[in-house]
Each structure stands twice: as C-alpha cells, then as structure tokens.
C-alpha cells in the first residue's frame, strides 16, 4: 500500500480531538460531583493531608532555592539601584510566576503521578468496578475529594512558597550582597503586593485542579496490569505539566494589566 500522509495526519488529529473530548467530558462530570452534594468529607480531609501537608517540604525547598537564585540573577543584571530593583522584581517574579508554576510542576510529579498510580491500581484490580456494584460513583467517592483537595490546598501551598521564596531572596541579598534587610522588606511591600499575590493564588487553584484531574483521568483509563499503571502515571505527569504551562501563559496574558 502507498503511504498516504494525509490519512496519517487525519488519523492522528482525530485521535487527539477525541482524547480532548473525553478529557473535557471527564472534567465536566468530576466538577459537577465537586459542586453538588454529597461530598465525602472524610476522603476530602485525608486527601488534603496527602496533597497539601505532605507536599510542604518539596514546595518549600524549591521555593527557597529559586528565590535566592532569582535575586542573584537580577542583581547581576542590574547596574544601579540594585537595592531598589532586586526586591521589586523578585516579588513580582516569585508571586506571579515562579511560586505557582514551580510549585505546580513539583506537585505534578508528586501528586498527579501518585493519584494516577493509586486509581490505576484500583482500576486493574477491579476495585473501581466494585465501587460501581456497591452503588458508589467513583467521580464522587474518589475523584471529587482529590480534585477539591488539590484545588483548595494548592493556593495555601503557593502562599507559603511565596513567603519562603522571598525569604530565600532576602537571605542572599542580606548575607551575600550586603543589602539592608529592612529596606529590602519595604521594597517588597509595595502597593500592588496584594494584586501580585492574588494573581498567583488564582493560578495556583487552577493548577491544583489540573494536577488532580489529570491524575484521576489517566488512572481511570489505565488498563493491562502493572505496566498500564506505570504508563498512566507517566501520562498524568506529562499531561499535567503541559496543561500547567499552557494555562499559565493564558492566565498571565489575561491578568497582564492587573
């Protein structure tokens, strides 16, 4: 048979569109379960611990190093007025971009993969089927608590990442660059600090939702034993990371004049 490039391209784009369609339907069903009762509170709180609390070390470590290295980079690129410029730029960079994006990417590794593996294992051992036969809907019992927990705890994590990241910047400035500590803090506390932080926190909530939904979606689609579960975890991390970066761009341009 002659290789027909149009057929191949057509097939690939059909597959991509139907995947996007399935993900959209899945997201709609899960969000509906998140917004209407009953909500399984026990599951929700235990997921908040797993997703939020136990991610603190990862997020904190990331933030402190990124804050410090960002401040150093800005200092190196600044010729005068560094004491004014370094904190001003750092606070924007950390609260609006690096805090939420890096925390989200770290959580994509930790949480998306974990959720996909957990749900994937439940799928291949027929636990999801068992839920159905016991009249419990997986979107309510499994997916909604995870999505709610990630969406609501992610902003808290990012707020902490912002504070820790600025501490990192502050430390490098005071310890290595001989800045005055109080001046640094005064420059951080500008008039639009609230806007900057809020933009970051809105992004954080969206990223949290993406992280949990990708984990649930790939997990619930896994098939074929342990290999399938591993593949689901990989697909969840990659999918979540791509969607985080793409939606970050969209939100940055939406909020550009905020």
């Amino acid at each position: 048979m002659i290789f027909n490039p149009f057929a191949a391209i057509g097939r690939a784009s059909m597959a991509a569109f139907s995947e996007i369609g399935r993900l959209a339907i899945f997201t709609g069903r899960v969000l509906l379960a998140c917004l209407t009762p009953p909500i399984y509170l026990r599951e929700f709180f235990s997921q908040c611990m797993k997703v939020g609390f136990f991610s603190l070390p990862v997020v904190g470590m990331t933030a402190v190093f990124i804050g410090a290295s960002l401040a150093l980079n800005i200092y190196v690129g600044t010729q005068f007025g560094a004491e004014q410029i370094v904190p001003t730029i750092s606070v924007i960079g950390i609260t609006r971009e690096l805090g939420p994006v890096l925390a989200a990417l770290m959580l994509a590794g930790r949480v998306s993969a974990g959720v996909a593996a957990e749900i994937g294992a439940m799928k291949v051992t027929e636990q999801i089927d068992a839920l159905h036969t016991l009249s419990a809907k997986p979107e309510r019992y499994l997916y909604a608590p995870r999505v709610l927990a990630a969406t609501l705890t992610m902003p808290i994590l990012v707020l902490i990442a912002d504070i820790v990241g600025l501490m990192g910047a502050w430390m490098i400035c005071v310890a290595a660059l001989d800045f005055s500590g109080p001046t640094f803090l005064r420059n951080v506390w500008q008039e639009n600090i609230y806007e900057n932080v809020s933009v970051g926190l809105i992004k954080a909530a969206v990223f949290g939702m993406i992280i949990a939904i990708m984990g649930c979606y790939q997990g619930s689609n896994s098939k074929g034993g342990a290999g399938g579960v591993g593949r689901a975890a990989t697909l969840a991390v990659v999918g979540a990371a791509v969607l985080i970066l793409a939606s970050n761009y969209v939100m940055t341009s939406m909020f550009a004049d905020t």
């Binding site: 051992t125 636990q127 159905h132």
Partner: protein, 255 residues
C-alpha cells in the same frame, strides 16, 4: 425454594466483542428467585464478561437484560439492579485503603448513611457469619491471606441482604479444605437470605455443592443447561469432557 414461574434475572441473546475478539455470541441465561445457577466453562470463554454485562459494568454490543421484569437500558435501572445485588469479584477487589470492617460495611456507611459505630458492629456481625473473628475488623485487606480475603469479600457481598449474588470463582486459589468451607458458606448464606445466586467456577466440587442448575458456556453461548443431578448423564460430550477434565474431546485446551 425455586420459583420457576418468575425470573429474577434474564440475559437474552447477548453479544460482546473486544475488537476482533468475539467473546459472547448469543449468550442467554435466566435465573429464578432463590435459584442457584452455576456457570462452568473454560478459561477465557467470557464467564466474567457475562456477569459484568449483567451488572452494567460492561456494555453489551447487542442483546437485552432484564432484572425483576425491568429492562436494563437506563442508568436508573442499572442503579436499581446494583442496589439489589451483591458481587464477589474474582480477585476479591477489596478496597486496600480501607480497613476490613470499612470494606464490609461500605454500602451501609456510604448509601444507607449508617453511623460508623453501627456500621462497624454490623460488619463484625457479618464477619462472624463467614467465620472471621472481630480481630480482623481493624486490619487492612493486604494483611490477610487469600482465603480470608475471599471471606471478607463474601461478607461485603451479603451485608446488604441482596436478592441476587454473583460469585466469580469464589474458591480459586484456595486449598481444598478452605475451598469447601467457602462453598458451605455460600450455600448457607444464600439459603439464609433466600437469595438467588450466579456462581462461576472451574471447580467441580463447588458445582456439586452449590448448584441447583448448571450452565456450560462454550464458544460464546450456553450450550447446555440442566439440573446438577443430570451432570453425569447429560449425554453432552462437552459436559462430559469438562466434568472429567479430559484433554481430548470436542473442546480444545486453550494454551
């Protein structure tokens, strides 16, 4: 006992394929209230698939399913059959993130909104029926042996007092003594509940112990069905080969 004037579950002319693999091709089954039907058949012939279709876990390509006279063609109807049936999965399918008692009383806490304390008591009560002590209640499924897991899964399947219970290979992987005990439990609990049962098994000892009727699945269809005491003089060469476990005969071993 068996009331043949009514059927509780009926599967009519079910077809189900996975890609090029045609698994069920005109599968029929009817189960009367209180009746115990055992499905036998070779590995990979679609026994598990047939009961997953009955419970709406898989969607047949064509065919009709009725439960208590109601056609299973809407989400509501499927929800009703699930409320009134219990299922013991081939691999147990216990929730490994929950304790044993939380597994057993899952429908009580999740659907009937029973308090956790009452549910725990009910779970321990039901565990007693499957000869498990209260000490396992707070363990995780992974800490139990295979036979204990089967019994926990059995407890989970019967706790809501269903009208119909599906058992998918309840004795596979158990030693003969435990297997026999599980068979006794099934017989005893099904009779205590007055429930109908559909059991899948390869184990002829199980068949003789728990079946009222036996149905043999071969090549996507039920090729023989009859009362268990006709098993040895069915006059059907497929049944004969299966019952006596011979490699030569009309059925090719699946290797």
């Amino acid at each position: 006992m068996t009331d043949n004037s009514k059927t509780l579950l009926e599967l009519r002319n079910i077809y189900k394929s996975f890609g090029p693999k045609h698994v069920l091709q005109g599968f029929d089954l009817s189960v009367a209230p209180g009746q115990s039907v055992v499905i036998i058949g070779g590995s990979g012939t679609g026994k598990s698939v047939s009961i997953k279709c009955a419970l709406g876990l898989l969607k047949p390509d064509s065919g009709e399913i009725y439960f208590d006279g109601e056609k299973q063609d809407s989400a509501k109807a499927v929800a009703r059959i699930r409320e009134r049936t219990g299922m013991l999965f081939q691999g147990g399918a216990l929730f490994d993130s929950l304790k044993v008692w939380e597994n057993v009383s899952f429908t009580l806490t999740q659907n009937q909104k029973m308090s956790r304390k009452d549910a725990r008591d009910a779970a321990i009560e039901t565990l007693k029926k499957v000869r498990l002590g209260a000490s396992v209640a707070d363990q995780r499924p992974a800490e139990l042996s295979g036979g204990m897991q089967k019994r926990v899964a059995l407890a989970r399947a019967i706790i809501s007092k269903p009208d119909l219970i599906f058992f998918d290979e309840p004795t596979t992987g158990l030693d003969p003594i435990t297997a026999d005990a599980v068979n006794d439990l099934i017989r005893e609990q099904v009779q205590a509940l007055g429930a109908a049962a559909v059991t899948i098994t390869h184990d002829m000892a199980s068949v003789r112990k728990i079946a009222d009727d036996v149905a043999m699945l071969y090549d996507g269809k039920i090729i023989w069905r009859g009362p268990v005491d006709r098993l040895d003089d069915s006059g059907n060469e497929y049944i004969d080969q299966f019952v006596h476990g011979r490699a030569d005969g009309p059925i090719q071993p699946s290797m």
